[in-house]
Symmetry: none
Subunit: 211 residues, 4 copies
DNA sequence: AATGAATGAGAATTCATTCAT
DNA sequence: TATGAATGAATTCTCATTCAT
């Protein structure tokens, strides 16, 4: 059994590239990103990116892949563990919230992707999304049947959840950018939200779907 | 008596440029947009864009300006006309929904802007946003005092509203792009939503804030 | 006899254009000059330049023409009036010096022209130059024959004269541009020169050619 | 033993670019120069110029820098070696003359620079010029004190020297350009000058300052 | 005569990608 | 693996000139 000869330090180089790329794609999007800049900020020679990854598009796909890979798994697993529809829905929301907190770039990248009609989203990722909606649909249906949820459209609920998290996360940036234009009260409120954000979203969504 | 010579022909050219630019910026974002392409699709000489507008950045700023200019006005005006907090909130939501339906590009552009920390958003526009939040805050407070709303955080409610609309609108594209990965049921549902979308969002939000 | 119907106010427009153009060509050269800029600074519509003059090249030629037209005449005339070779040479120098003082742009334009091999100099102007050299040659020969001048090469003497004036004039700008790098003493000296510059050059050249 | 690998190939590319650029800037000036043309004539990809140098302006600055760097050193060194003021002055003139013969572009570039008020001349170069004037001032003062020179203004003497060389050099071009307008005698004379040009200038200047 | 608008042909600069070592 | 250099294809922007009024 090979145990560790797989990759000496190139592993580190690749890690570096992917992390930096994720950051930059989040900041300026695919079209706005510059391979030169990614190389510079990753402390890596530009040619190394091509050696290891292949192309800017491949780099982007890999970044997305990485970011999405565990989200779906986590949801499937944790939702199963919960019993009641209400609790399952909370788990669903919580997993999304936590993923977005762990991978802060995901929000920005997703927003751009959705804005441009997901032209760059590999099908693998689309399937992940569809799978998530299916899970949510099941949860909501169970809730309806159990008489605790009012009828609602799963897709809208999903976007309600994702939208909340994404907007709140990305808007932090937005607010700090325009300090002058934002009143004091606004800022402190925002601060408070960030800390209990997941719980807030849970409550809001639950209120919206509960009978 | 000539009553219609008011518009020198250049007005039309500029209109053309701005509309086409709005469309393209919505499709591919600022970095992805090509001035050549804008000129081509606007049936305008590229140099004319520089003659009338000045630069790609100025073009983008002007597009944003235009798109935002009337939203805030509409909200201020219509909200005043409504009486009860509940109705005021519905009006607030409806105006946003209608603006996004009239100017379909707004949603996509906003998503990108928020994703990149609103680096391009002029302060004028930020102020518009802040003003909108203030109005919403007043509505929610009145509702609380009247005993019809449960306490909630205005900023989150705002993003809940905007997020819903934006996501639903932009996701139409997304779904049609990835036909293969999307199940039949999913699509028809989506179709249905689009038609009653504004009403749906109203209900969802109202349920979320009502006592 | 027509007395004044020749040109109403277009005369003024043309004057404006030519003067501004002379200034700008002196500042940045032919290639560096922008027709837009000339129009702007002349308070004239750009199309008017084309209406009145025809093209950028034509504008340049006309500017040169104007500037050179009277120089040669003045020299021919005044040199004849002087008697002794020494006095004739002084007159020659003085006329050049005065022309350059009246038309400050001439120096800069000439320097550029010479630097680029006079590609833009119309033959008319070349002939003027050649004529001037002939006059100088005659003066110097007469001086030699009269035993007051030492043999010298007319072309060099001409360049000595013109070079002095042109360099001194253009270098004023140069010195004021780089205040920090220029010592105090340097500046005041320069000031003094400017006032008696013509006389200085006369003496210098006379000393150089006298026996 | 390899003794010549010191120069990585990029050195050659840069050398090529700078030499070609110097040539072209001399021919047509900064504004008239085309980066495309420089690349073409240097047998270098246009992007390589940007890779190595950065911009057209940077290229120009570097060309100026290079051309001036050794002139000042040479003068300082050689003038010291001479004993008598008269000989020192000849050395001063000779060094300038030889530099202009080695770097034929210098003359043309300097003329344009002076014509446009030395907007592009970095202060480093201005300091070089000022230093040269200081040296000349010292020489002339010593000559006066020794009773061999008549009082004169150093700046004018300097421009007399430089002007002569520059004009003579650049005017070669001028004359060949306008063959038709130039009489036979004129041309042959000019030929003769070129060969003994340095010596001629020395004599001319010496005569002008000697008592 | 005069002008705002328009335009085609550049011109500087950028950028993803490849190459030689 | 890694890297400095090179490159072709854009891409933004400029500019002399023309047009319609």
């Amino acid at each position: 059994m090979k145990t560790e000869t797989i990759t000496p330090q190139s592993q580190e180089t690749i890690r570096n590239i992917l992390d930096t790329a994720a950051q930059i794609f989040a900041e300026v999007g695919f079209a706005g990103a510059r391979v030169d800049e990614i190389a510079r900020r990753a402390n890596v020679n530009k040619a190394a990116i091509y050696y290891h990854i292949g192309s800017k598009e491949a780099l982007y796909a890999q970044v997305l892949q990485e970011i999405f890979s565990d989200l779906s798994e986590r949801i499937v697993q944790h939702v199963q563990e919960a019993q009641m529809p209400e609790e399952k829905l909370r788990v669903y929301i919580r997993q999304i919230g936590q993923t977005l907190q762990t991978r802060p770039q995901l929000a920005a990248i997703m927003m751009r992707e959705i804005a441009s009609g997901a032209q760059h989203l590999p099908d693998v990722i689309m399937q992940t999304l569809v799978q998530m909606i299916s899970i949510l649909t099941t949860i909501l249906k169970q809730g309806e049947e159990a008489g605790v949820f009012t009828p609602s459209i799963p897709l809208m609920i999903h976007f309600m959840i994702v939208g909340q998290f994404i907007f709140l996360r990305t808007s932090k940036h937005l607010i700090s950018q325009h300090q002058e234009a934002v009143p004091e009260s606004f800022k402190s409120t925002h601060q408070t939200i960030s800390e209990t954000i997941v719980e807030e979203v849970e409550n809001l969504v639950l209120r919206a779907v509960k009978k």
